[in-house]
Symmetry: C2
Subunit: 229 residues, 2 copies
């Protein structure tokens, strides 16, 4: 009888002959009405001169989510970004150095500015539509992440992770338009968002050289699944 997962294989005789486990984090934020992604330069090795998402090896007895949070903190100083597992990339040739299985995460933060100057020396923001050459298979990860983000915008309240506590309807609409890369009808959009009941209205207003805008916040800061577009 074949039993499960008892370490019998020849590889296991020598302990190092196992794939390593890493996490990589595709961090998105909205800045200057652009969708941006945080990248770190690779200084040495076969893929130097390229950029990569923040990431690193998972430690023994560490949760995957914790490893992702730890690496994100290390590279950006962010402590409370939204995190979501995307996909696991395991092609042995994805990293020319050794066989690394990488669990890709998407991270979303409302304030890219919170990354301190010190942390900014470790990497920088790029406009998502104009990424530099990426190391490993990080181009695949970028594609996967943006597709997931687009999909979730349409059927969840995930936008709360990318907006500050208070924002105008126009800002919410711009966020959608930006990420989905299409124009959005203001009236239909407002009607649907209101029907979804995911916003609370704030007593405050945003003022400017024009009619003041009402401010809103998300009613819940946890992911809700609701058909909205």
């Amino acid at each position: 009888v074949t039993t499960r997962r008892i370490d019998r294989s020849p590889e296991d005789a020598h302990e190092h002959a196992r794939p390593k486990v890493a996490v990589d984090i595709v961090l998105f934020a909205r800045e200057e009405n652009r969708l941006k992604t945080f990248l770190v330069p690779i200084a040495t090795g076969p893929v130097r001169e390229k950029w990569a998402f923040p990431g690193g090896l998972v430690r023994v007895n560490e949760l995957l989510d914790d490893a992702a949070r730890r690496e994100l903190l290390t590279f950006t100083g962010l402590r409370d970004a939204y995190l979501e597992q995307l996909f696991t990339f395991g092609d042995p040739s994805r990293d020319p150095n050794s066989h690394v299985v990488s669990v890709a995460y998407m991270a979303l933060t409302p304030d890219p500015k919170r990354i301190s100057a010190a942390d900014m020396t470790r990497g920088r923001w790029f406009e998502h539509s104009r990424l530099p050459p990426l190391a490993y298979d990080h181009g695949l990860m970028a594609d996967y992440a943006i597709r997931r983000l687009r999909a979730k915008l349409e059927y969840t309240n995930i936008a709360f992770t990318l907006l500050p506590d208070e924002f105008t309807f126009a800002e919410l609409e711009q966020l959608y338009s930006l990420i989905l890369e299409r124009e959005i009808d203001r009236r239909n959009f407002r009607r649907r968002i209101m029907a979804a009941k995911i916003l609370r209205q704030s007593p405050n207003q945003r003022r400017g050289p024009h009619r003041p805008a009402r401010l809103y916040g998300f009613a819940q800061h946890s992911l809700q699944t609701i058909e909205m577009l």
Copy 2:
């Protein structure tokens, strides 16, 4: 003899202190108009007396998909099931023996009977709605898999992986009804499936003590994304 049944800190603190990588496969098939899942008994160790999905460690320089195919072949003899990565489970406590990060896959096959008698000694089919106690976090995997399958039934032609080359419309409808656990209106269903243009009509018929049924097959045996329910 099992190596490293319990690999604990003294050794793990050093260079071998890395999580292992495994794959686990949630295999679904339709049999006797029930949705069934293949499980393997755990013979020994802390979780004996429980059942688990087929799976095992990923080898160095092996693709994740290849590892999943290999383990599926080992446990079931199936060579050409549909395979799709689901999610990666990495809680260090999920396996009491050691820290194993497991990449869960969903597998789908049209003919559960193809599993030979020899392979059936390694495990057996269970009705998905009546699973025995599962080892590790395989209950989570089962949930994740069925949710993914339900979702994909609604917006892809994934049903081709669970049906033989030719089938009647009633069989297709039963498959949907079975997995989605709800009744389906025959007329509306037929209209939508036809509108999606995913079927080719066969010249053959299925006969019985009643009006013969036209046979159909899927036009493409590759995954297509098309809104269909």
